[in-house]
Symmetry: C2
């Protein structure tokens, strides 16, 4: 099945942009009459027929439309410190998109060695995972902000922080009901600082454990993602 | 904390092999009197003091020994078709080791594009994840075998197959009790063949679902690993 990402689709007639058109005609060598599928990233899943093949503009006629395709019953937002090796963050984005996530925010923490991320590149990773896993909802990647500014946003719903320091922690499943909104903080290599933990607790974030083993940043984030999706199955 | 992998440790006196000795003295620049930790891969976790530093042989005196460190309450064996891009299999091995797995067998399936894996390289990936995540039990990597030969082994315990074909499937958690032995089959890109599924069912493997989204081979394997560890927490 050939899937294209068409966030700006607005009617039954659609023209692929230059890049997608070239991919469609030159790489996939699709021709007039071939059937492809479209995902708009907002829950729309479309079956379309190629009506005209130009090098730079492939025209389509939408045949079938499914809205709210694979609609999720909860909202998961993970705020994660970018990993030193950016491949690990990209890997997390790909896997989280496959398993199910709604929103991601890179947060710069006291102990973050990486303070800059190329959001456009991360966006591409998410989009290709969306196409590959047939996820009609495109996870939202927020701009990178500091930990302090993230906490200040005073978000609603279940707020949790996964840290490695001593103290009482409960599993996510014991901490949060199902079909709700969840925000989970994942720290950098070297963990959050005690001050960061203190601020989180003050702002209503509950400390959670992700199991007994020592997990890397990206593994911890994916473990949280898995657990939230699991309890909402 | 500096952790060394010492599978052959047998007494309170131990000498690191040439490679580890060089790493200890040249890279980490540790000296006589420094404290390091050892993992033997069989559940032994040791605290040791450096008593002698040679370029090729660093000698240690074990100060504390913990046996059955982080002993697991179940046995998880995942048989997975090697991915076309071997990085994806290596990534799975690292993550599964962090989260918890006991045995891995690469299986060559009808639709496997990759039919050869370098086990020594995969072994290195597992060992470095063992050290990084302080897992005192080293997961066992079995030699690569064909799907047919794997099924013929007639293993005991909970046997499951994760496939994408039509048919009744239940989640792992609904399929298996806790604290048991689990064997889970994960297919290649393009899934198992209908014949392979048929043979599995004939041999007592139950079909399981890992959720509603379309997962890559390595993501499916990790999702299974997450779920088994989760229900055994």
């Amino acid at each position: 099945m050939h899937v294209f990402y068409t966030p700006d689709i607005a009617s039954d007639l659609y023209t692929l942009n230059e890049e997608e058109s070239r991919h469609c005609s030159k790489v996939l060598r699709l021709i007039k009459g071939d059937i492809i599928h479209l995902i708009d990233g907002k829950g729309g899943f479309y079956k379309a027929e190629i009506t005209e093949v130009g090098k730079k503009n492939v025209q389509l006629q939408v045949l079938e439309t499914q809205l709210e395709y694979g609609k999720r019953n909860h909202h998961l937002h993970i705020a994660i410190a970018p990993t030193k090796n950016i491949d690990r963050l990209e890997w997390f984005l790909e896997k989280a998109t496959e398993i199910g996530i709604d929103e991601i925010t890179p947060i710069i923490c006291d102990r973050s060695e990486r303070k800059i991320v190329k959001e456009d590149r991360l966006e591409k990773v998410i989009t290709s995972a969306v196409k590959q896993s047939l996820t009609a909802y495109h996870p939202k990647l927020n701009p990178t902000i500091t930990y302090q500014n993230f906490i200040k946003q005073n978000l609603q719903g279940n707020k949790m922080i996964a840290h490695c320091m001593e103290g009482d922690k409960v599993p996510i499943s014991k901490n949060a009901a199902t079909q709700q909104s969840y925000t989970i903080l994942i720290g950098p290599e070297g963990d959050f600082s005690p001050e960061e933990l203190h601020i989180a607790l003050q702002n209503g974030y509950k400390p959670v454990t992700l199991g007994n083993t020592r997990l890397r940043t990206e593994t911890a984030a994916l473990a949280a993602c898995f657990e939230v999706n699991y309890i909402n199955r």
